[in-house]
């Protein structure tokens, strides 16, 4: 028997109707109710998870009765195929040295995953390395790149009542993951043509995928991922985004809008402010799961950029503090939830130093403030 920690919020609209209305600033019965998941540690540290055998995000989502939302990822269609073989190269106490699926050598903890691996070496440092990897792993004619659209339609029929997104790519985040942070910076400085060829490769693969899927499934939004900013701003200069990335975003945006998708979010932590204009001008009009701590209160961005939407934006630091800190913070979000184009949830995966009690209090306060809007 599955456990229920909280009953579903009451409402008249279907999750799909609610999501679409809320993100387009149309009247809704209540806020769309979702969260972005948890660190792996929460599944053992939070006793209620451990005791009830909850080990995955989808199980937690069901137990908290969140509104359902899905995305079609197309992961094997739009980037490397095949990926590099994942393997352990060496073990050293509680750490292992691995080769990951991007061909990076990395050191990581074997037992926990909160900290990202410590990347030490990429398979690509020169244009010759890139040409070899491109030939072996980025061939657009590889048969397994072709999406099985019939299967997708069966999984997500037109009668569905939940919002469905289509992954619309990463034009630079995946490249960073393939080169390492420093590797990307040196590539930008030493081999700009190679870097642009990587971006173009990513764009062409994405376009091929969209051509195969769009028009056959009625998507509600597009999702993306970059994670290309840190708390000082973007890793690469905004001019690079304007000159190299934006033209490719625009090509993707054209395909999305032609098939009726007018909402496109990108997942980009850190201080995204220097890139917001590029994003908005190129068709990316939503940030997800918008992180407060290294950037600003979501209201600051929403006020400054009409047309921008945000998903996330609940400062996890306040959730760690608990009680009054949670209530006060959520109250600052009320006008933005009412205005529309903003769905509040924890501003990344919820960390284990948010106690179970604080998390439940947060959910209850969220329901009190956003569980009935009209």
């Amino acid at each position: 028997m599955s456990v229920t920690f909280r009953p579903p919020w009451k409402g008249e609209l279907t999750p799909r109707e609610r999501f679409n209305c809320q993100m387009r600033s149309e009247p809704v019965d209540r806020s769309f109710h979702m969260e972005f998941g948890y660190w792996d540690e929460n599944y053992t540290v939070w006793e209620a998870f451990a005791k009830n055998g909850i080990k995955h995000e989808w199980e937690a989502n069901r137990a908290f009765s969140f509104d359902p939302i899905h995305v079609v990822s197309g992961w094997n269609c739009v980037w490397m195929n095949p990926y590099f073989e994942r393997k352990v190269i060496a073990r050293n106490g509680e750490k292992v040295t691995i080769q990951d699926h991007n061909g990076l050598t990395a050191e990581k903890f074997e037992s926990h995953s909160a900290t990202i691996p410590h990347y030490t070496k990429s398979s690509i440092t020169t244009p010759d390395d890139w040409l070899k990897v491109k030939r072996e792993r980025f061939d657009p004619t590889t048969p397994s790149r072709r999406p099985n659209v019939a299967e997708l339609i069966e999984q997500h029929p037109p009668t569905r009542d939940y919002p469905l997104g289509i992954y619309a790519g990463s034009m630079i985040g995946n490249i960073r993951d393939m080169l390492t942070f420093e590797g990307l910076c040196y590539a930008y400085a030493d081999y700009p043509e190679m870097l642009e060829d990587m971006v173009e490769t990513a764009c062409v693969l994405m376009e091929n995928y969209l051509d195969a899927v769009l028009g056959r499934i009625d998507f509600d939004y597009a999702s993306g991922w970059e994670d290309i900013c840190f708390n000082y701003g973007p890793i690469l200069p905004p001019k690079f985004f304007e000159d190299v990335i934006a033209p490719r975003y625009k090509r993707i945006a054209k395909k999305l809008t032609n098939s009726g998708i007018d909402l496109w979010y990108t997942d980009c932590d850190g201080d995204v402010r220097p890139l917001l204009k590029v994003f908005l001008d190129s068709g990316i009009n939503c940030l997800f799961p918008y992180e407060v701590n290294s950037c600003a209160h979501p209201g600051e961005l929403l006020d400054a950029h009409p047309g921008l939407r945000i998903m996330g934006g609940v400062d996890k630091m306040q959730m760690i503090k608990g009680g009054e800190a949670i209530t006060s913070y959520l109250e600052t979000l009320v006008p933005y939830v009412k205005r529309g184009g903003f769905i509040p949830f924890c501003d990344h995966r919820c960390p284990p130093d948010v106690t179970w009690e604080n998390y439940l209090f947060y959910l209850d306060e969220k329901e009190r403030l956003f569980g009935r809007l009209s």
């Binding site: 030493d190 850190g270 630091m317 960390p351």
Partner: protein
């Protein structure tokens, strides 16, 4: 002859490591003092880059290639500086705290510290209080720079400062703390001395504090 200093600085700002190497070699051949080449050429160039980085006029790639050029020049000067008995402004131990493998911010701060003429001893990632303490005993550092990116690992900073207190050497060093979840109030909570929101000002404040103690 002093135009060479400006040329070294300019080449470094453009990230041209081969040009920097050639110009430093020329400066040495012309008999310019190594310490002057370092201060008026290499460090002056890094200072410009560091300020531009602080003002968002340049980004991480420019900093990395400038630092790479600086290292190429410094490598040529090192034996001459040692021979002349020149010493760095101060020594700083730097590392990401135990349980945390993030190193981007830490590496940037290290580059900025070196750009200020400080000797940065990089202890890497996942560094325990005992390792920081042992490194201090070995190197007699002036400052210790602690980095953390996670709300769970930033608590380790308190343990490290506590370990220095227990060992009776807290007052021998200046503690800098940094990383995405770190704030001025967190700095006070853990009893550190310096918090700045960015790498360039961390290095600047660190240098100031070291010089003030000397």
């Amino acid at each position: 002859m002093s135009h060479l200093y400006e040329e070294i600085s300019a080449a470094l700002q453009r990230g041209k490591q081969n040009d920097v190497k050639a110009l430093v070699e020329q400066a040495i051949a012309e008999g310019l003092p190594a310490e002057e080449i370092l201060n008026r050429g290499l460090l002056a160039g890094m200072d410009v880059i560091s300020k531009q980085f602080q003002e968002n006029e340049v980004y991480v790639p420019e900093v990395l290639v400038a630092a790479r050029a600086m290292n190429a020049g410094t490598a040529l000067l090192k034996p001459l500086l040692a021979e002349a008995g020149a010493k760095a402004v101060g020594k700083v131990l730097i590392g990401t705290v135990k349980g945390d493998l993030h190193d981007i911010g830490k590496n940037l701060v290290r580059l900025m510290l070196e750009g200020k003429g400080l000797e940065a001893i990089d202890l890497g990632v996942d560094v325990s209080a005992e390792q920081f303490l042992a490194a201090h005993k070995e190197h007699k550092a002036d400052a210790v720079a602690l980095s953390a990116l996670l709300t769970t690992t930033m608590q380790e900073m308190k343990n490290i400062i506590g370990a220095f207190e227990e060992a009776g050497c807290r007052d021998e060093v200046i503690f800098l703390v940094g990383g995405a979840p770190i704030s001025e109030s967190f700095k006070q909570t853990v009893g550190a001395d310096i918090y700045t929101p960015d790498a360039a000002s961390a290095a600047e404040e660190c240098k100031k504090a070291i010089l003030a103690r000397k």
